[in-house]
């Protein structure tokens, strides 16, 4: 299995009900496969940051084995709207 940005986006959309996912392949800046993701999902509402990140980690558990560096940001749709307007 080779991990692609599209694959990550599809999986997060399907399994976490994400309404918006940005996937940036940061591999060119680093020594191995690296990704930076922004996940917007209403499933994050009322959940602390650690739990949100755990949800993403669990969703991508298989993929993370092949990813060297992984950055994530997890927002609720409300937080995302607020951030966009800033």
């Amino acid at each position: 299995m080779s991990v692609t940005a599209d694959h990550i986006r599809e999986k997060l959309t399907k399994e976490l009900g994400a309404v918006h996912v940005d996937v940036e392949d940061t591999s060119p800046n680093r020594c191995a496969t690296s990704y930076k993701v922004l996940v917007v999902s209403s499933q994050f509402e009322g959940k602390p940051l650690l739990q949100r990140h755990r949800m993403v980690n669990t969703c991508l558990a298989e993929e993370l084995k092949e990813i060297h560096a992984f950055e994530q940001k997890t927002l609720t749709p409300e937080q995302w709207e607020k951030q966009k307007s800033q």
């Binding site: 940051l49 650690l50 990140h53 755990r54 980690n57 558990a61 993370l64 560096a69 950055e71 940001k73």
Partner: protein, 111 residues
Amino acid sequence: LCSASDIQKDLGEMVKKDKVVVFMKGTKAQPMCGFSNAVVQILRMHGVDDYASYNVLDDQDLRQGVKVFSNWPTIPQVYFNGEFVGGCDILLQMHQNGDLVEELKKLGIRS
């Protein structure tokens, strides 16, 4: 045979021994990865100098063991009062939204 469970027990003690514990790549003085460096810089910014850091590059058992211990797939890992806080992204977001100041206050550290 019992080394895997030994390291889990050791980790349980390591994270409780100091108020702030960081598992990282490299040392405080010489971080070997940008993410570990980010954690060191954030803590420094908040005046947290007196914390325990363990270099996972020195010890492959520690590197794998801490991932199992926290059920977290990446390094660095930050612990406050024996509790897993998160990795670099979480610490950065806590720094940005002010939560980090509050959490450090609970530890008796004024940033």
